[in-house]
Amino acid sequence: MRRPGRALFLARAPYRRRRLRDAARLLPVLGLFLLLLPLLWAPDARMTLTAGDVIYFFWVWLVLIALAAAFAPGLRGGGSGDEDED
């Protein structure tokens, strides 16, 4: 429900800030997807992992960390959180 007094449309900068928050909310979903993906690689239910998988997991890990690091400054800037809560 929209609270009274909240703007329906935003200028460019606040709009970008809100989308950044959306991205931050979606990041763990992306992470979970990437971490569960290898389960689908093996043909049967029990899968065997190789050195390639180890390297894959560490890459995923690194990408998540890099994305979180990229998001963090923008999120901290608008961290008062009073304009976009749900």
Binding site: R21, A24, R25, L27, P28, V29, G31, L32, L35, L36, P38, L39, A45, R46, M47, T48, L49, T50, A51, D53, V54, I55, F57, F58, W61, L62, L64, I65, A66, L67, A68, A69, F71, A72, P73, L75, R76, G79, G81, D82, E85
Partner: protein
């Protein structure tokens, strides 16, 4: 390497930690923390997630189950990269409500219920005890590794003694730095900094061992990759259920573990630190697990088959003759164990003292709130609790005999603390979550966890008889601890996870949906769920009859004299009073409670103030009253707005009326001079000519002419007076109407003929639609014709078009007939339209043709008497008048 050297190194390391903690405490006391409050220290302190279980156990885990150990770090990674969703809210709530522990959070959210605080405390203590035992066990095992490798094989201490000394040392450290003072925010800078140092030590140690293994023993990265591929693959299988379940479990644990909650929420200095930690902490975790697989693979390769994989981090360097590296690794493991135990025992001690010991104390000694020095009582309770927690851990270690792989115990503890998750997440995102629901969920989760995971972990016949394992409790096969409801095909760990969480959530939701929360509970729920929307504008206290002096006395005993007096003085000044005793307003009681809850927990603080204030706090009725009050204010302001709009409208109407009146008054003045003039002109000629006539001696023709002039002027006077009289009769409603059936067409014909007398010199084109005029009206035909004549005469008089036209349009609708008279002149200006029907109104003096400005006024009065109206019709291309008359006029009053 000599065993004694190891003990010495250990002691030196502990002394170093003491010094760090001591120096930092000193600086904190002087308020000079500087970089010690940086995000870096915060992130490093979060690393107590990595205990000895990580340091030693992860390698063993990897050696036994392959990559599954990674799930333990993936969960926290997801939680921290998604900090915006959950952790931010948790930290904000923790800071705003002075939360001292996870039990305090839950109890505070659900109406400061101490029952909930006790339940959460019990869960946490039960789950943490094996975990603490695990840390002791790891230290003992590590000592054992060195003792075996010692050349002289002399063992000055056996394992039991080591465990005792470690436990005692940890208790001493924790009591010394964890219970120095009763801080309002329950923060321990010295300990946090010491933990940050330990975080660096364990990371460096693990990286050093890993680097040595990869580049010292194996031949670099490609060789390690080849070894991983060549390792026994059958053991390296991942079950999708376990993989997913363990990621969830570790994500839940990182939020709910008491020690994680302590460093993440309670010790948080600045919410901005969380943003940094959101990526820095996962990075730390990744660095910690980077070399786990290589160490495991190389260890399996190089060490004899029977070697304990949990100790590879130590045994690998020792086997390669790297004593110094092994020492570093040992210190790393020691740090992991000690930091975990210290923070865990502080967190648990806070819970135990705030939710169990102090409430018990207050219950046993009802007057205690105002009588004793509670600060000392609380601190003593904390110290006892710390000692008790460590004693429990030691006892568990002794009883369990240090058996079992490290990983298994760790997972069981994780699952135990995860039982708090539904009540916590539900509490901060769902206002409908209630105390009863939370109690039901927690108790259900605790029971199911104990039955399916914790008790079976001791093995058959230890706590649960083997018969129960095989046939289920009470011989009911669907109650088998590892096959509830016939699900024995599941992995035992996932089975326990699935059933405990499912039943927990179910009980929590059902309980919440079916019960009605109390007023304090609803207030707290709103405050927690809407924490980002500013303070909830409700007071938790009604105005009490408490003596402020008693409050001050109590506050002094918890906060200390200086702090309490400062608090009271500030509050008094804010109320505009001098001295130390403010009025016990609801706002003040609220602030005091929040301040006290930082020291003794929300439930206890609430109970203590209730004891003094005397009566229960707000009631549901109060809540409703506040809510309806604000609704009333809204409604009132809406009403005010409506009233204001109405006033504005009225003012506008009044202004319009005033303008009209002013204009009329001016016109009246003008008319009076006009009528004087009108009356005087004929009178003057009558007097002049009659004077001439009285002198006599005039020719007969002249006499006749003068007589005619006198006669005409007298007629003019009479007509004027007739008009005035007529108007006055019409206005008084005393007119006599001669009703009868008359043809509209006939009336218009009559009117046209009669009006031809006005300016007979003008050629006028009249446009009519005769069929539409074939209407018979029941009305006063003469009067109506009089109106028509007047309108047509006006058109003849005033229409200024070179080829004047008059259009007469008749329409019949709904028992009324309208007759429009439209000419093609320039019409009547807009500002004049309003006054033309007023008495004495005349547009211009230029064209006045004997009229006194009464014609239209008479018309209007006539139409009113005939039950109709006459109005100016704008926008017709010329002057246009519409006469509306009822088809059949009924006379109401005879």
């Amino acid at each position: 390497m000599p065993f004694n050297l190891l003990v010495l190194a250990c002691l030196l390391y502990v002394a170093f930690l003491f010094t760090v903690a001591f120096v930092v405490e000193g600086r904190a006391a002087k308020g000079r923390l500087g970089w010690l409050r940086s995000p870096l220290v915060y992130t490093l302190s979060l690393s107590i997630y990595c205990t000895a279980w990580t340091f030693y156990g992860a390698v063993g885990y990897a050696a036994r189950s392959g990559l599954e150990f990674l799930t333990i770090y993936f969960g926290p990674t997801l939680v921290f990269t998604g900090w915006w969703l959950l952790l931010r809210k948790l930290v904000r709530i923790g800071r705003q409500h002075h939360v001292t522990s996870i039990a305090d959070l839950i109890s505070s959210r659900y109406g400061k219920s101490n029952t909930l605080g006790v339940i959460v405390t019990v869960i946490m203590v039960v789950a943490a005890t094996p975990y603490i035992a695990l840390q002791l066990q790891s230290v003992v095992l590590a000592f054992g590794v060195f003792a075996e490798a010692a050349p002289d094989n002399s063992r000055p201490l056996d394992s039991a003694q080591i465990a005792v000394w470690v436990a005692v040392g940890l208790a001493a450290f924790t009591i010394l730095f964890g219970t120095r003072n009763l801080d309002a925010r329950e923060q321990h800078h010295g300990i946090v900094t010491a933990i940050a140092v330990e975080a660096v030590v364990k990371l460096v140690a693990l990286l050093a061992v890993g680097s040595f293994v990869v580049w010292g023993i194996a031949g670099g990265v490609p060789d390690v990759i080849a070894r991983i591929d060549a390792a026994d693959l059958t053991a390296w299988q991942v079950q999708p259920g376990r993989w997913t379940g363990l990621i969830f479990l570790s994500a839940a644990a990182v939020i709910c573990l008491p020690r994680m909650f302590q460093v993440m929420v309670v010790e948080n200095e600045d919410e901005g630190h969380l943003a940094r930690a959101s990526w820095a902490f996962p990075l730390y975790l990744m660095a910690m697990s980077l070399f786990i697989v290589p160490i495991a693979v190389v260890g399996l390769d190089r060490l004899p088959a029977g070697a304990n994989p949990d100790m590879f981090v130590l045994t690998l360097p020792l086997a390669e003759g790297q004593g110094g590296l092994a020492m570093l690794a040992f210190l790393g493991g020691f740090s992991s164990a000690t930091s975990m135990v210290i923070v865990e025992s502080i967190a648990l001690a806070t819970m135990i003292s705030n939710h169990v010991m102090i409430p018990l104390w207050l219950r046993l000694r009802p007057g205690a709130a105002a009588a004793d020095d509670l600060r000392q009582v609380v601190l003593m309770a904390r110290r006892l609790a710390i000692a008790a927690v460590l004693a429990l851990g030691y006892g568990y270690y002794q009883v369990s005999g240090g058996s079992g792989a490290l990983a298994a115990i760790g997972l069981i503890a994780f699952l135990g603390v995860a039982q708090v998750l539904p009540a916590m997440i539900g509490g901060i995102f769902w206002r409908g979550a209630t105390r009863t629901g939370a109690i039901l969920g927690l108790v259900t989760g605790l029971v199911v966890w104990a039955y399916t995971s914790f008790l079976p972990s001791f093995g058959p016949d230890a706590v649960l008889p083997a018969k129960v394992f095989a046939e289920g409790a009470f011989g009911l096969s669907w109650l088998r601890p590892q096959g509830l409801f016939g699900t024995q095909a599941m992995d035992p760990m996932i089975h326990a996870l699935f059933w405990s969480m499912a039943l927990n959530v179910m009980a929590f939701c059902t309980g919440s949906l079916l019960t009605f929360p109390g007023p304090v509970e609803r207030l707290q729920g709103a405050a927690f769920v809407n924490v980002f929307e500013g303070a909830v504008g409700l007071q938790r206290w009604a105005r009490g009859q408490v003596e402020p002096e008693a409050l001050l006395a109590m506050a002094q005993r918890i906060l200390g004299e200086e702090a309490a007096q400062a608090l009271f003085q500030t509050a008094a000044r804010a109320q505009g009073k001098e001295g130390f005793l403010p009025d016990p307003t609801p706002a003040f009681l609220d602030g005091l409670e929040s301040r006290l809850s930082g020291s003794v927990g929300a439930a206890t603080a609430h109970a203590m103030i209730s004891q003094l204030v005397g009566r229960a706090t707000v009631t549901v009725e109060d809540l409703m009253a506040v809510a309806s009050e604000s609704a009333q204010i809204l409604e009132y302001s809406a009403r005010l707005e409506a009233r204001e709009a109405e006033l504005t409208r009225t003012a506008g109407a009044l202004r319009e009326a005033n303008e009209k009146l002013t204009q009329l008054s001016l016109q009246k003045d003008a008319f009076l001079s006009q009528i004087s003039h009108e009356l005087r002109t004929p009178m003057t000629s009558i007097r002049a000519f009659s004077e001439i006539l009285t002198e006599g001696d005039l020719p007969a023709a002249t006499v006749a002419r003068y007589g005619q002039i006198i006669h005409d002027e007298a007629k003019r006077l009479t007509r004027l007076l007739d008009d005035l009289l007529d108007l006055s009769v019409l206005e008084n409603g005393a007119v006599q109407l001669n009703l009868g059936l008359a043809s509209l067409q006939g009336m218009i014909d009559t009117a046209l003929t009669a009006a031809r007398a006005t300016r007979p010199d003008r050629e006028f084109l009249v446009i009519r639609d005769l069929p539409s005029e074939a209407i018979y009206l029941r009305t006063d035909a003469d009067r109506l014709a009089q109106v028509f004549i007047n309108l047509i005469s006006n058109a003849r008089k005033y229409c200024d078009a070179p080829r004047p036209e008059l259009r007469i349009a008749v329409r019949q609708r709904a028992g009324r007939v309208t007759v429009d008279f439209i000419d093609n002149g320039k019409g009547i200006p807009k500002d004049a339209q309003r006054v033309i029907f007023e008495k004495f109104a005349r547009l211009s003096d230029a064209n006045r043709a004997g009229g006194a400005g009464l014609g239209l006024a008479i018309c209007r009065e006539i139409m009113t008497n005939l039950g109709g109206s006459v109005a100016y019709l704008p926008g017709q291309g010329g002057a246009a008048f519409r006469v509306t008359v009822p088809l059949r006029l009924e006379v109401l009053a005879a």
